[in-house]
Amino acid sequence: MSETKTKKTTGRINTFKIVQAIISVLFLAVLAWRLYTVIKSGVYGPDTWVRFAISGLIIGSVYAVIAIGYTLVYGILFMINFAHGELMMLGAFSGYFVFEALKSIPVASTGLSFLDSFQIISVVLAFIVGMFISALSGYFLERIAYRPLRGAPRLIPLISAIGASIFLQNAAQVTFGPQRRTYTNPEALMRSQGWRIPIGGEEVILTYTGVLTFVLSILLLIGLYILVMRTRYGRSMRAVAENKQTAALMGINVDMIISNTFIISGALGGAAGVMWGIHNGIIYHFVGFIPGIKAFTAAVLGGIGNIPGAMVGGLLLGIVESLGPAALGIDFQLKDVIAFSILVLILIFRPSGIVGEVLTEEKV
């Protein structure tokens, strides 16, 4: 009796896999055909494609930085830090306030404001303050909302994270007001300015803010990778991710490592927030939510718990999201649908992500 039952089960899984394979092949064929017709029709010139790819790379690099925050926390605590997008929002607001404050300080020697006289210092200051505030919030978030729940069933910290996310969003709304605010960048980082590249008879603008965002993201990612993979501290982080109990026996202060993980992930979120503000220009209390979810998608896309995976996933998601609507010839309003469809499809067909997984089935 039991033997037939097992046979039946394996049989069903095999059929399931075959059906899956057929559906995915059909799906890819439809996509390829659609892409071919759109490119052949020549609605978009080469310059437009380059423009989309550039904006995708830039937004993707921001996603990657946020995604690392998710991956770090997930790797260690196996929980989705739902409030991570809100840490990014706080960072964006901090950077905004720094710029506003510096703008109001006049400098006698140049006759301009501090913001325009010492532009590099101003930008560095905005990043430092934004990262500091977000890191601090991340620390307190863990202390207040997550630490008391360690060891509880997995739904409980997730609900707590959702609660923290709602709280932070609305706290920002009542303190800073519901209106949208525009970042005042220093003069060198005017949002429409940039290098002009001629492509196919048209000019493509490579904005300074975009380049700053992209370069800074890559630098942050490399720095983090070195921290986690090459230093003694990173080794203890990985040990805690592997097995908390054993790590504790080896003399690692597990609580401290977890706190510091939240500080690092918060700082990355804050940096992403300031980049978002400088590049996109408009911030409000809800600004962290959608990028947060997309960044989680990116983290899953690359294989959650995996740092290089999150980088690849973020860049890929940005590009697909930016090129996708054009490539498939559909409305640009539907770019979120593409992002979420990718999330759903990846989770269904390859839950371990593109780059590789760090999780066993039990952890998922």
Partner: protein, 520 residues
């Protein structure tokens, strides 16, 4: 001694920071008005109810002082020192803050461009409408004096063991009531349960008669949330599948009802009753469709996929591409409501319809819960692998949970659309899913009375606390975190779940064990 001061000032720092945030949220103004009105303090139209503010500060200081003193209440000196140190720290923090804010305001710095709650009026309010120094000193004095008082009170009350006495009295009273003759007779009578159910039912059916139009409408909203809560209760509470995109089924129900009964964008205009059935079927079908691909997922991944699914549905119904078929951002107007014997429904009739639906669903859920299906779901929730080994066809039961939950949401959506005669993308945001999940958790997962209590707390209370409208979600988010820490099983939990969540407390764990936790 030194330890007391250290502990006191540390707690004072935390209390102070929280208080500053509360001031920045602007909550102090609202709370002071409510408080002052309640105790009949005069409100000054220029600055607001400063007496209320003083009372709030005093209460916070009392509470903080008693908290600090509870750390070491061996003798009156130590409680005094604890209370004094926390009061001093709090007073300095709030004093410096008010002084700084008042000073900046006097120097004509416009803070409200950035921190919207710090306008001229609220700053005057923080200074009690007096000069800079006087206002600051009043705050400082209140915190110091009441901090010390709080510390000393803890000592005095601790000495007399008032808490223990109260508890004893409560137990004695409870025993007396249970000993009374008619309570005994009631408990012994096997029919008593049914009698109380009938009484409850009669009360529920009489309530709408005494409510006005507004309250009938508000209670109807609560009712629709109860419907959705009962549905999600099956998916999350019984089967243990965390679904964050529950609103998708609500939307499908609402749009099916809307599209089939409204004159535009598709002029079908079928009657309400057959459409109601059809929306339930459509939602259940969507539940199965979503269920098939996500069957093998567990926990967080399932949550994220369902969340993505909900967002996809919302973006799709908003999009220009589908707007000729589903109305786009404007939504669907003039949805036909139901009519019975030639009479169309008003708020009261809708409330009765919703109550009827809730009762039917409660009966149905109760039946499922105690049947083979319900036991299979609960086995799956506890441990999927073990359930599978026990011969439970998990794929089948998961699909069934998804379909049932979705069907209830579809019913809720259809009723919602018909009652409002309108439905649009704004009704189907992620917040709806999260609200339903939260009412489930606040009420108590897997418990039917819990769902009802949760819906009243989360949807009914805000209707009563209209003054706090701006802070509703803020309080809500804080409440969720607080609830998870203090009482993760909810207000009215299912008995089984309460045991689960507290099982660890019975064992004595070595300190390393509790530090590391169960996972990993």
């Amino acid at each position: 001694m030194k330890e007391n001061i250290k502990q006191g000032s540390r707690s004072g720092l935390i209390f102070g920071i929280i208080l500053i945030f509360i001031i920045l949220f602007g909550l102090t103004t609202t709370l002071s008005d409510i408080f002052g009105d309640f105790f009949g303090l005069n409100s000054n139209s220029r600055t607001g109810n400063t007496g209320g503010l003083m009372m709030i500060f005093a209460l916070v200081a009392l509470w903080a002082g008693s908290q600090a003193a509870s750390f070491d209440k061996s003798n009156w000196k130590s409680t005094l020192i604890s209370g004094a140190s926390i009061g001093l720290v709090l007073g300095v923090i709030i004093g410096v803050f008010t002084f700084l804010v008042g000073f900046l305001d006097a120097a004509n710095v416009e803070m409200r461009d950035y921190l919207v709650q710090l306008n001229r009026q609220s700053i005057q309010f923080l200074l009690y409408g007096r000069s800079l120094w006087t206002g600051t000193l009043i705050s400082f004095g209140i915190f110091l004096v009441f901090g010390i008082l709080g510390g000393l009170l803890t000592f005095i009350l601790e000495d007399r063991k008032t808490g223990d006495k109260l508890q004893q009295r409560y137990l004695a009273l409870k025993g007396k009531i249970l000993d009374m003759e008619f309570v005994q007779r009631y408990q012994d009578n096997p029919k008593s349960r049914w009698i109380s159910y009938v009484i409850l039912l009669v009360i529920v059916f009489l309530i709408p008669q005494f409510l006005g139009k507004y309250w009938n409408y508000a209670m109807g909203t609560v009712g629709i949330y109860i419907l959705m809560g009962l549905g999600l209760n099956i998916v999350v509470g019984l089967a243990g599948l965390l679904d964050l995109g529950y609103v998708a089924f609500f939307a499908i129900g609402a749009y099916t009802a809307g599209l089939l009964t409204a004159p535009a964008p598709i002029p079908l205009q079928i009657g309400f009753w057959p459409v109601l059935i059809f929306s339930i079927v459509m939602a259940a079908f969507a539940g199965i469709l979503l269920g098939i691909p996500v069957l093998r997922m567990r926990g967080d991944y399932l949550a994220i996929v369902t969340l993505g699914f909900g967002e996809i549905i919302r973006v799709l119904i908003r999009s220009d591409m589908l707007s000729p078929y589903v109305g786009g951002p404007q939504g669907i107007r003039d949805i036909a409501g139901p009519s019975l014997f030639g009479m169309s429904f008003n708020e009261k009739a809708y409330l009765y319809l919703i109550i009827l639906a809730i009762l039917l669903i409660i009966l149905f859920t109760n039946y499922l819960q105690n049947s083979k299906v319900g036991r299979a779901w609960m086995a799956m929730r506890e441990d999927e692998t073990v359930a599978q080994a026990m011969g439970i066809n998990t794929l089948y039961y998961k699909l069934m949970a998804f379909a049932t939950g979705a069907a209830f949401a579809g019913l809720g959506g259809a009723l919602f659309a018909a009652r409002n005669q309108y439905t649009g993308p704004a009704d189907h945001t992620l917040m709806v899913s999260i609200n339903v999940l939260c009412l489930l958790i606040v009420g108590g997962m897997g418990s039917i009375p819990g769902v009802i209590v949760g819906a009243f707390v989360l949807k009914g209370l805000p209707e009563i606390l209209r003054e706090l409208d701006l802070y509703r979600l803020l309080v809500f988010g804080g409440l969720l975190v607080f609830m998870m820490i203090i009482r993760p099983e909810g207000i009215w939990p299912a008995p089984r779940r309460r045991m689960e969540l507290h099982e660890g407390e019975l064992d004595v764990l070595p300190p390393e064990e509790s530090l590391v936790g169960k996972e990993g």
